[in-house]
Amino acid sequence: MTDGGERLLSVRNLVTTFDTPAGRVRAVDGVDLDIRSSEVVCLVGESGSGKSVLGLSLLGLIDPPGRVSSDTLRFDGRDLISLPESEMERLRGREIAMIFQEPLSALNPSRRVGDQIAEVLRVHSLASRAEAMDRAIEWLGQVGIEDAKARARSYPHQLSGGQRQRVTIAIACICNPKLIIADEPTTALDVTVQAQVLDLLMDMQVRLRSALLFITHDLGVVAEIADRVAVLYAGQVVEEAEVHDLYARPAHPYTIGLLASVPDVESPRRQGIPMSTIPGSVPNPLELDAGCRFRNRCGKAHDRCMQAPPMIDLQQGHRVRCWLHAG
Amino acid sequence: MTAAPSAHATRPRMGAGPKVAVVYLAIVALAAIFAGVLSPRDPLAINPSNILASPGVRNLLGTDELGRDLLARIIYGARVSLEVAVSAVVLACAIGIPLGIGVAFCGRRVEAFAMRIIDVFVSLPEIFVAIVILAFAGGGLTTLIVTIGLLFFPHFARVAYGMTRSIRAREHVLSAISLGAGTTWIVRKEILPNMVSVIAVQASFTLSFAMLMEAGLSFLGLGVPPPTPSWGQMIGGLKNYIFINAWPVVVPSIVLFATILSVNVLGDWLQDSLNPELQR
């Protein structure tokens, strides 16, 4: 739950573009984001919203022809924009860790899993080879893999999907990072396994007291784990609020639409809202114009929507990018 | 039901390499076709008083160990080399493609068995088989063409087999079959058109292999029989005189190298533009 701690991560006007043969794509277009220590922030969006790109941009893992720029990018009091690459490498894995969506492709198929976990410690010179392996085995146990010592010598293809994802969680957690960025960590898993892995991740987060940026499209998960939620659409944050607020008083038509399309009969927050889907699809990133990007799918669009709506502050910590809430 | 074309990529702009390759190959082809007109002299005319001459005014590219004009022999050699290589590839296609398609339509066990045999053929180092066959079958251009064609038909059989199987499994083909489409119809309308691009690429690479094979065999004295000029044969003859004059042997060497290089560059470009999803 919210610690009310200082701001761990502070992002202003993050822009990530890709130069493709068809033109320049603005995958992330002016995102502001704050994450406090030990806070769980969920980044919600459909595919094509830029949410995965956002995660990679924060870690500086966007390669040419992509380019990342921002007005502010501060982590733990340090300015990441001017940080030399060697310093950035020291941050990665140790203070900011990442969990990827598909564990089978995220793990090196020809190296044993114990080795891959131990590697994090060795890269940051935190342990000798033997020590690192011991701690890796320890962590395998902590993420719920039985017979850890034997399993450490397995190759990724010998483990189940759930076990592989536990391994990537171990890799992320072993250095006790201050921030974990999880990019749809349960999406690629079987439904039965998803809950277990999610529980594990939340367990870790609480124990290590790390902040968690959880990227997902699953609103059910968001309701369970989030402290705060940021809704991403076509590369922009369209709404941001504490989780109770978002579910009780959604402000942006897109958020309302998303919530209405979740078939969650039992959630008390949701009763009374009719089920529906949002017509249309995410706009082509090459054809974005100056106006509100959601207006073609919005039931309440009007003339003012031809202009880009500003971010408007509603009550405490609740912001929305929509003309409907302007004065 | 219309046949769906395979991935129709926009052809990437031709880089400098492929353009040069096309121009060069066009020159070679023209030389081959119009040899009689273009050649300054008779390629077979011996001139003992002017052997192993460097390129000069009298003989633009020099002369060989019997005084024959090298430019003339290169031009006629182009005709021979292209003739042999192209014929061999055509033969290989003519045998291999129907075979591959045919095998794909047989039962499972026949398929597996036949492909195994073909795989063994493909893995054998071809030049040895060629040497043995040529030694016993005697010389002559026809034998050469047949031998090289036989060596390379398994490549086309394998490609045709694989393509046939994958095309047959495509949804619109399966639905055509369920609606009663016969085998010949499927082959004509679906399989052949969709195979064209892959076969074309395979043909270009096989062409370069065939030229290499012919040149190698002629170099050893087992290929094109003298006095008919062939680049490989010329290199084989002139190599003994390097210490007297190196220029004559360099001339056909460069020409052969440039030709094979051009075919390969074009083959790569063809591969990239027709089958972009495949890795080179």
Binding site: G93 | P125, I133, G138, A215, G216, F219, V250, V265, Q279
Partner: protein
């Protein structure tokens, strides 16, 4: 691992037998009677002499019998006697085998030592000058026929620079330095061509592997881009390269035919070629057996390497 090894050995033996059968069939079913050629012009005159010779050589027996005896002969190390010299083929083969192996080993080493870095440079420098330059060198090597590069090498190193001999052979035991000197040019000629193959495959494989997610994860762990490519991408990228080397090993062997002719290197291939010109059946057969044995052994060695490098292969094959 042992099960995998056993599996590959059996497969190798089977392939060898099959290949031998094919060769045997080819030799005996083709036109051209060795006996008449051997006896020359006299043969045409006296059919009795021809028949006697035929019996002496065992060529009158049914093909199956000949095949069976050839096969058993190979198994026991008896490859027959040369029709020209009467010497046992086996001794000649044993003497020449290492020489051809030297060429192949030398050529392969050069190809790998030059080709892999070239491929890496081409993959990493994609779109830039270094990458294009590396690609051009690779395709040039790949396209140059072995005898063309051989000829160029001779011109440059023997004629102009006078550094290395253009032909000839000396036993290693007699003069190691000279032996190596004679080996350099022919091995390089074979190597350059294969280098192109290796470079192209490495480039394609690495370009593909570099984009994989686990390389990105490695960077997310804190590895530098160089380290991620070197320790994660490259080892996996090399797996298909080893496969390709195995598949194309035949071309190395094929290259020896040309090179041994060009540089007067007395190996197995030159033995085969001269035997072919003379229609010396036993020598043809014996050298082909040896050549194919080398070929299969190379394939076996490649399989072993692949088993060591990629754990998944071991399991699927065993």
């Amino acid at each position: 691992m042992l099960a995998y090894l056993g599996h590959r050995l059996v497969a190798a033996a089977l392939t060898l037998t099959l290949a031998f059968a094919v060769v045997f069939a080819a030799i005996h079913l083709l036109p051209g009677d060795p006996v008449t050629m051997l006896l020359g012009e006299q043969a045409g005159a006296d059919p009795e002499v021809v028949q006697k010779m035929r019996v002496r050589l065992g060529l009158d027996r049914p093909l199956i019998e000949q095949f069976a005896s050839s096969l058993t002969g190979i198994a026991t190390g008896d490859l027959g006697k040369s029709l020209r010299t009467g010497e046992p083929v086996f001794t000649d083969v044993i003497v020449r085998l290492p020489r051809s192996l030297e060429l192949i080993a030398g050529g392969l080493s050069i190809a790998v030592l030059l080709g892999i870095p070239l491929g890496i440079a081409a993959a990493k420098g994609r779109g830039r000058f270094s990458g294009t330059a590396a690609s051009v060198i690779a395709i040039a090597g790949f396209s140059a026929p072995v005898f063309v590069s051989g000829v160029i090498l001779v011109i440059v190193f023997s004629l102009w620079l006078n550094l290395l001999p253009s032909s000839g052979f000396v036993e290693f035991a007699d003069d190691p330095l000279m032996h190596l000197a004679c080996l350099v040019l022919p091995a390089t000629a074979i190597g350059i061509n294969f280098m192109g193959v290796v470079a192209r495959m490495t480039r394609a494989s690495l370009a593909d592997t570099m984009t994989k997610e686990y390389v990105r994860l490695a960077r997310a762990k804190g590895l530098s881009r160089q380290a991620a490519v070197l320790y994660h991408a490259l080892p996996n990228a090399l797996v298909p390269v080893i496969t390709i080397i195995g598949i194309r090993a035949g071309s190395l062997l094929g290259g020896t035919v040309i090179v041994e002719a060009l540089f007067d290197w007395p190996g197995l291939s030159s033995m085969l070629v001269s035997a072919v010109f003379a229609r010396d059946y036993p020598v043809i057969q014996g050298s082909l057996v040896a050549i194919f044995a080398v070929f299969v052994l190379i394939g076996l060695a490649i399989d072993i390497c692949q088993g060591l490098v990629d754990p998944r292969t071991r399991e699927t094959a065993a």
